[in-house]
Amino acid sequence: MNESDKWDRMLRQALAADEEPGERLNESLIQRYKERTGMKRGIRKKWSAGALAAVLALAVSVTAYAATQVFSSKEVAERLGEKALAGAFDSADAIEIGRTETSGGYEVTLHGIVSGAGLREIDGPSGISPDRTYAVVSIARQDGSPMPDTSDSEYGQDPFFVSPLVKGLKPWQVNIFTMNGGHAEFVENGVAYRLIECDGVEMFADRGVYLAVSSGSSFFRKEAFAYDERTGEIAPNRDYPGAALLFDLPLDQAKADPAKAETYLRELLKEPSSDAAPKATGEEKPVAAGDGAGSDQPPDSTGDAEADLAKQIEWLHSRIPEGTVIEESVQEVGYDDKGNALYDYDGWQVAIPLEESFPEGLTGDWQVAGFSGDDAGYKVLQFSRDEQGVVKGRILLLN
């Protein structure tokens, strides 16, 4: 057996699935399925538009404006390292809401929302897009006990779903997951702050857009919200044992774009074909090949994966001279007790062995430590050591 086979065997052992779903989890899955399919059929008969208003009033027991708002949307974005976005939250086009509601033992505040015009000025290397919507929500416990810190083992044990929902569209089909969304979160003084983003919702302004928050799952749960297929109304379910509430988003109806919304929904609701040709996705940037270097587009695939990968790396290297340095990312590194350089910026937490990265006498040049990429483009992490031995890290955008 050669070394490669041994390594392969070791990986198979180390990475084997070592946990199984418990019986209770599977029972709850079956139960959820029963409820989901049962509810789907029952809602139309059970709820009328009039009853929905009553349900909404009962489920959302208290509505008030936040008396003490610890962080503004801008400050939350700043704390998450989204400086450009923080500026957008400060713009005239952002809607600072500051509305607090309680449900299921939680106090939820919708701080603010920004999309479209408010983001146009910062469109570019920041990765922020005017075609997206960004919103800030905070969640606290009603009894005053702190939300678990992100470093606590309790963190995430009562997960939350925070998502825009659109009136008239099935919420299990059109929500933050299907709208290419994501979130970032931190906990401060016992309050969890979450910045969410997804494809822009302004185009749906004429339909009515909600911001939904529910506890008990990171995903949309039909147990938490009722959808009336006849009226298109969505309402929190008063029997839901956790938090379930909706905020109406005060979007400017003049910004609705029914034609764009139609096209968007057609694409979003399209069932993926099981025999579709390979295509690029958020994680699957086009594989670089061909005459990549010097071009501003990743070159086409040649079909030879190894060659493609090499050419992609070559292409990425060729983009570095035109890359944009994220100024805030330029930081002097720290060191651990083994002498590794530690770099920590905006989620990049990297430990690099110095001797390997900077052979004796190598100073001045920026050395590439790694590339990464997503929908917003490619980035490269670099390190440099000056003549005094000071090592700095930085991140460049390679758009």
Binding site: K6, W7, R9, M10, L11, Q13, A14, L15, A16, A17, E19, E20, P21, L25, L29, I30, R32, Y33, K34, T37, G127, Y155, G156, Q157, W172, F177, N180, G181, G182, E197, F219, E271, S274, A276, A277, P278, G282, E283, E284, S301, G303, D304, A305, D308, L309, D336, K338, N340, L342, G347, Q349, V350, A351, P353, E355, E356, S372, D374, D375, A376
Partner: protein, 173 residues
């Protein structure tokens, strides 16, 4: 009938799907959610599931997509290079001949180090790696689930192994 279908699906593939979700999710609550949502989504797409000759691959592709949509942009921030002490893991890697494969029941520590190195990979490398080693899919099945060419899967698996090995060795220095 549908319930039986779901039970059967869970019975046949639950363990693989759960193991895969556990590798990708940050904690058990997220694992449970991703696991359940994978099956619930699969049931909503039953027509495709029935037509698909590889239900396990179909389920795994749903799990990958759900997780990707959940994280997308912010996935960046989760890509953390392993900073744990990987010292003797690399020693073991450098001298693989000292143990026969039959005896090579990995120590808990070494297993942890290898898992940390895998966790530190970016999604492009990590997902095929877990599909291959955790979910036991073949290269062809991974290509079909991720809708990428077989050659790309091979290349990513190769790159994942190489990167992990380098990191484990570098950490021991």
């Amino acid at each position: 009938m549908e319930i039986e279908e779901l039970s059967d699906l869970v019975k046949k593939h639950g363990k693989s799907i759960y193991g895969f979700c556990r590798k990708l999710a940050a904690n058990q609550a997220d694992t449970d959610d991703l696991y359940q949502e994978t099956f619930l989504t699969a049931m909503e797409k039953r027509d495709q599931l029935d037509a698909n000759r590889n239900p396990k691959g179909f389920l795994l592709s749903i799990a990958v997509r759900l997780r990707r949509n959940h994280r997308r942009k912010f996935a960046w921030r989760q890509r953390i290079a392993p900073t744990a002490d990987l010292g003797d893991a690399a020693d073991r890697l450098r001298h693989p001949g000292e143990e026969t494969p039959e005896e090579a029941v990995l120590s808990r520590e070494l297993r942890g180090k290898i898992q940390a190195a895998a966790d530190g990979l970016n999604d492009k490398l990590k997902i095929p790696l877990y599909l291959y080693y955790t979910a036991d899919l073949s290269v062809e099945e991974i290509a079909s689930a991720l809708r990428i060419p077989v050659g790309t899967v091979k290349s990513r698996l190769h790159q994942a192994r190489k990167t992990m090995k380098e990191r484990l060795e570098a950490e021991s220095l």
